[in-house]
């Protein structure tokens, strides 16, 4: 029998992590995501699955604990919110540079600086354009429901280990704090060391006599070697772009206008579409589920059909740049969104659609 629970997005992340057989969680409290570690600590998974849960002294420490665990081929994760994720950027570039798989959850709040604890989507640039130094990418998933918060934990680990790359779950205060029905997976076992050694032979589990030592590092002092390594990384990213684009389309078949929105904003926009369609406006929505890789091709396809696109995000206009790049100026692309912790209402989105695209 399927078990339905009513829970917050943050709680769903924690429950899903335990059930996915995750080996370790390392975190530091910050609103609006503290329920992730609070739920884990209340559940005491170290007594059941053997999962390690540790409150670190800072986000810097947590992300580096994740590095240490990932280097052993363990499935490890952390979560935080914007200011904490800024502090993790050093760790993320090292993880990407050392090609380590891990999952990081960002329950985004308004910035810049200490900002506000209210929801925002203004960490898009930080997440998909780098954040840390160097040419690297984070595979980025944007859940739009509590169910997706749960489902994306395991999906993220699958992608992380498939590509040996960190994966970011880019959520926000709305999805983290809201409660919805969730169906959780059955408990899966944690990986054994034999399984890790067999499938992830790079893991530092102790040098066996039959293999060379394993070294997890991101340093290549020789420029030519570093360039060669960067080519390898780029080839990996091309493969991610070819194989891992995920998106959802809503009422696009007859759409004359297209809203592009992700995460909680996509939920709000679904209501806007109901309101707009009731007024006779033929509008659809493309919801990127992966923000990196971005659904560039599908947007170009829709650009041939619609009169204009509206990127709706709780930021001053970040994803809109990628939408513009995707459609190569073939249709007008506008941005709308409240930001700094304010959340746009479905009605405000309809007004913006009318003013910026239809009226204009």
């Amino acid at each position: 029998m399927r078990e339905l629970k009513l829970m917050k997005g943050n709680e769903a992340i924690a429950e899903a992590a335990i059930r996915a057989g995750v080996d370790g969680y390392f975190g530091y409290p910050i609103t609006p995501q503290s329920e992730v570690m609070e739920t884990l600590m209340a559940e005491k998974p170290w007594e059941t699955t053997g999962m390690v849960v540790l409150q670190a002294e800072s986000e810097t420490a947590s992300i580096n604990m994740v590095y240490g665990g990932a280097g052993c081929g363990k499935r490890v994760m952390t979560s935080s919110s914007s200011p904490g994720v800024s502090l993790m950027q050093e760790g993320l570039t090292y993880l990407a540079g050392a090609e380590l798989p891990c999952v990081v959850v960002n329950v985004v709040r308004g910035g810049p600086g200490l900002g506000t604890i209210q929801p925002a989507q203004s960490d898009y640039f930080q997440t998909v354009k780098g954040g840390g130094h160097g040419d690297y990418k984070l595979i980025t998933l944007a859940p739009a429901s509590v169910q997706e918060m749960a489902d994306f934990v395991e999906l993220s680990f699958d992608l992380a280990f498939k590509y040996r790359n960190p994966v970011m779950i880019l959520s926000d205060g709305v999805i983290g704090q809201m409660m919805e029905k969730v169906e959780l997976n059955e408990q899966k076992p944690r990986w054994t060391e034999d399984y890790i050694n067999e499938n992830y032979p790079w893991a530092t589990t102790g040098k066996k006599a039959n293999r060379a030592k394993n070294i997890i590092t991101s340093v290549q002092l020789e420029a030519s070697v570093q360039e060669e390594f960067n080519h390898k990384l780029q080839a990996k990213y091309r493969s991610v772009e070819e194989n891992e684009v995920r998106f959802e389309e809503v009422m696009c078949d007859d759409a004359e206008y297209l809203i592009v929105a992700y995460g909680s904003s996509a939920r709000i926009c679904q209501k806007s579409i109901e309101i707009a369609r009731a007024k006779g406006i033929k509008v659809g929505m493309l919801r990127p589920i992966t923000l990196y890789p971005f659904p560039t091709e599908q947007l170009m396809k829709r650009a041939k059909q619609v009169k204009g696109m509206l990127s709706v995000e709780m930021s001053a206009g970040q994803m809109v740049e990628d939408v513009k790049l995707a459609v190569e100026c073939s249709v007008p692309v506008e941005h709308f969104g409240r930001f700094g912790g304010s959340v746009h209402s479905p009605g405000e989105v309809v007004e913006a659609l009318e003013q910026k695209l239809i009226g204009g």
Binding site: D23, G24, F26, V52, L54, A56, E57, S58, T60, A61, S62, N64, M65, V66, Y67, G68, G69, G71, C72, K74, V76, E90, G91, Y94, A98, E193, T204, T205, G206, K207, K208, A209, K213, N214, I215, I216, T217, S218, V219, L221
Partner: protein, 254 residues
Amino acid sequence: MSDINTIIKPENLIYKRTDVLSDNDLSYCPGCGHGTVHKLIAEVIEEMGIQDTTIGIAPVGCSVLAYNYLEIDWQQAAHGRAPALATAVKRLMPEKNVFSYQGDGDLAAIGTAETIHACNRGENIVMIFINNGIYGMTGGQMAPTTLPGMAASTCPHGRDVSHDGEPIKISEILAQLPGTCYVTRQSVHTAANVRKSKKALRKAFENQQANKGTSLVEIVSNCNSGWKMTPIKSNEWMEENMFPYYPLGDIKNQ
């Protein structure tokens, strides 16, 4: 007739270089203590039979490439973060032997928080701390442990304690924490000191196997390049100047 082959026989072997050391040429300056400490760690690992269960965490600094020299699995950490990595490795694989290898800038400046909190949690790891009072790799800048009046490229007129504070005695601080079981300060500049250092390292790894908490082995070392001295002169200078500030011996032994 003394044919060399009549001498090279197993029964005549009195010393053998450990196989835990790799054949790579060391990248350290001639006269530097790092190579000696590497060898001691390698010997302890071999003698304890833990080569296949030991994971080393390399820092940023001169020993960033330490993983080239010891034939064990390694992770290389971001600057100062080695204790955080070691924490996770040990917690996720409690049956393994885990050590960090860190310099003074790594352990006592940029990584102070990670160092103190790993020790405070009593992480069951070994921390090996090379204190030479200077940033060697980046070209001789002031370290948190640079002595008062000692010149470095970012304090060319000597460390002014009214401006930069006193050098930090991090081992004494860490010894205050209940999580540490063993804090010792050694050196490797004489044969006798090398033997003492090796004993300390062995004890630290044995503490880990006995689940006793964090063991910290500080090695006060020279940096003849950074100090701009000959190796012999730098060892003399170390005895005269470093040891009075950083006295050798056990700070805590439980």
